[in-house]
Subunit: 483 residues, 2 copies
């Protein structure tokens, strides 16, 4: 058989499906297809037949005047948005469009230090200059909580030239900031609040869930409809708030730069169907998911803990459907626990880290999935108790000075140098230790002696990984080559 007879991607996907795991990851549909009102499966039945171009009978994503416009309008009404854009290039392009809509080259924007990498990409594309907000960290667990209203107020006082504030809420772990209070602070400065709500598309559709960022006054909000609802992967939404602080024309113009001119009608239809499902059955589906989550929270676990609202300091809210399992008392890392659960129980988490495992519960999960999770966690408790003290992580170095904008650093020639000789150079890469997932150096920032010392310390910490580096062993680091 010729090698060309292989189809590695399909074969891998079929193998994943054949394993029949209990899925606690995104996409939220977990393989359960979207149905029409008669219970039929239009997308499953005819993906290729429904994969149509921007015919006059259909519509154009970049200049919608027909069904796409109508579908976006229905989504806007459901979410309480002034306007909604459907996205086919993921929340990534929504985050980038938010930055491009608010910043001209050289403009300052406040962004959290623990932002998703799409924020760094947006800064590079717009040539915006970041002022980083340091999120609060729960040191013992190595968990990022989020940004407080006070830190936003302080940053705005020191950086009156800022054009807007971008936040991530909720976090991967399901922790939301006090967006209503933050929105007040930001709006008092006459600025727009932009929220990466990728993990919160289901918020507000049940009284036990945190409120939507839009309801808290946010001006632009991106949601991964595929992450906690039923849309297909890379199908997202961008909502405009009611405050009139952002020009919708600037958003549409940015999205024209960032999205294909051949959008998939199937991805768009999945957004439309996910919106309808949420509108017609949202509360009931959320209730079922919340019931599963409440069950999990009622399990009698000795050595494992599931993150609960009472663990969090005031000002932070927890998405009850997000199960963040704290492994502090066990003598194995989250990475090892993740491998073990997958291999032994076919239970797949969304995100392992050193001391936690995050499980996404969504409307696609079932009682069977939950029982497998319980069996896995109960067995995990048999692992020996940790012998090492759960010492708090060493305090991270202070944020270094920004010497080049992220865009300047992106385009600058770079060279790899030994870590020891990098002190004083400008980093060409982002280095982000997990836990807690806050970059200690971003492209364009100076590599200080304190940072090099901290990196040496991290390299010796078992289970700590550093993401973003071209050399994963971190013997070398890429720095900007100044001519």
């Amino acid at each position: 058989m010729t090698p060309q007879a292989q189809a590695p991607i399909l074969e891998a996907l079929l193998a994943c499906r054949a394993r029949g795991v209990a899925p606690f990851y995104a996409p939220g549909h977990k393989g359960s297809p979207l149905r029409d009102l008669e219970g039929k499966l239009p997308l499953e039945a005819a993906v290729f037949e429904l994969d149509l171009p921007e015919l006059p009978e259909f519509d154009s994503l970049h200049d919608p005047q027909g069904p796409i416009q109508a579908a976006q309008q229905l989504a806007a009404e459901l979410y309480g948005a002034a306007q909604t854009w459907f996205l086919v290039n993921g929340s990534t392009c929504g985050v980038q469009a938010m930055i491009l809509a608010v910043c001209k080259p050289g403009d300052t924007i406040l962004v959290p230090r623990n932002a998703h990498r799409s924020v760094a990409a947006g800064l590079i594309l717009a040539d915006a200059v970041p002022v980083y907000l340091e999120p609060q960290v729960w040191q013992t667990q190595g968990l990022v909580l989020g940004v407080s209203a006070q830190s936003v107020a302080e940053a705005l006082a020191t950086h009156p030239q800022a054009r807007g504030v971008l936040l991530v809420s909720p976090s991967y772990d399901g922790i939301s900031c006090d967006l209503a209070q933050i929105a007040e602070v930001v709006h008092d400065h006459g600025l727009p609040l932009l929220v990466d709500e990728a993990h919160g598309a289901h918020f507000g559709f049940h009284p036990d869930l945190p409120p939507l960022a839009l309801a808290s006054g946010a001006d632009l909000v991106v949601q991964s409809t595929h992450k906690t609802l039923s849309a297909l992967s890379q199908a997202s939404m961008l909502h405009l708030g009611q405050g009139g602080r952002v020009q919708p024309g600037r958003v549409a113009q940015a999205l024209r730069l960032l999205q294909t001119t051949s959008p998939s009608s199937v991805l768009l239809a999945s957004l439309d169907l996910a919106r309808r499902q949420l509108a017609l059955q949202g509360k009931q589906l959320m209730q079922e998911t919340l019931n599963l989550a409440a069950q999990a929270r009622s399990w009698k676990l000795d050595r494992l803990q599931i993150l609960a609202p009472q663990h969090l300091p005031a000002g932070y809210q927890l998405d009850p459907t997000r199960l963040c399992v704290l492994l502090s008392d066990l003598a194995l890392t989250g990475f090892d626990a993740d491998d073990w659960l997958r291999e032994q129980f076919g239970v797949v988490a969304e995100l392992p880290s050193l001391r936690q495992l995050v499980f996404i519960l969504s409307l696609g999960n079932t009682q069977t999935h939950l029982e497998r999770l319980k069996a896995g966690l109960v067995a995990l408790e048999e692992f020996p108790k940790s012998q090492i003290q759960n010492a708090p992580l060493p305090a991270p170095p202070t944020s270094p000075p920004l010497r080049l904008s992220p865009r300047q650093a992106y385009f600058a020639p770079a060279v790899a140098v030994p870590l020891e000789t990098a002190i004083g150079a400008i980093s060409a890469e982002l280095l982000c230790p997990y836990p807690p997932g806050i970059p200690i150096v971003m492209p364009g920032e100076e590599i200080t002696a304190e940072i090099v010392d901290y990196l040496h310390l991290l390299k010796m910490s078992p289970g700590c990984t550093i993401s973003g580096a071209a050399d994963p062993q971190l013997r070398t680091i890429r720095v900007v080559q100044l001519s």
Copy 2:
């Protein structure tokens, strides 16, 4: 029934499908699904189940080390590329990545005046400065032919600071430039040749088709695998040539900016399956498509002509599968003919213009489709003969001076002013009359008196449309507001 029970996008797609038209548009699969080696329909059967995230068992698009890497490697081998990247944000992001990989801010790049709007977007994102290559035009038909090797050589002589040359080949109408000769000219200057081959993913897989841009020596090539082959919409490929003139790291870095971090595994699988189909059955499928095209070219038509190789001047090649029907002798425009064919015969073209209709024939078309096309065209011939002379279009104005880079113009504040008062101002928009589809003014260019005169002339020409303007009546034009 609540309005939220509607699903406008799905309903529109189902209605399109129910009409059962003869499709002569992209995507190339024309609704015919990709099968596995046993003839089964894995994607149709389980779109949601196969929509999986970047699990460890699967792979990561931005850092592929497993099945995605293997699939890209098979595609590279099939196309003769040094490396291939699968794209889930359409050829749009591939064109942008080509520009970002070759240009730093302020760098000059040669681009054809008739480029797709993704090129303008790429110039904006990279802050590259375009030098426009004027394509040759067949004035009587209002058809753009392409860029000649001579005009590339002249432009490179006058602009030695250029960092690369980007071309579109083939055109929408199926016309290819002499890429081998152009590549020689470009390589003699030590520069890379970038080719937007969106409409030529099927080239080179049959001796009667034009050669692939890669085979002609191109250094980076984007192909819309969904346009003439069987991938799903917005699934494309970017190939690196063998010349070593572009750093693959720069390409990968750009694609990380431009593509979602939640890529659809279904889109990726469709690229993998389309590649396998082409490898195993390509020549036979191309033969069948060529047979359909040959049939169409043998029809006895009196007033309609199908563009044929002998119509083209030396140096240009025609994709025989692309049927560009010339309406010169009929008293109706291509737009009217398009509507009429769609309504009366359910025959849907890819692209109507004033004096042509372009039909895409691909491996998804059948004998039945072709017979409906024949019936439609034969009936179209009954329309009265044109009473107006087919006067050549007025010669377009010379390209105006570039006063701001496209990026500067994108971010500049803009205001709408009456056309008459715009002389001397800097355009904030692209104005592109069809035919022939070559912009007469681009963002950042000066609006000259000659351009305003020409726009007045176009406004009085029946059937001429001007795309890109915020005011489609062109009473006003958006210009940069200089502070």
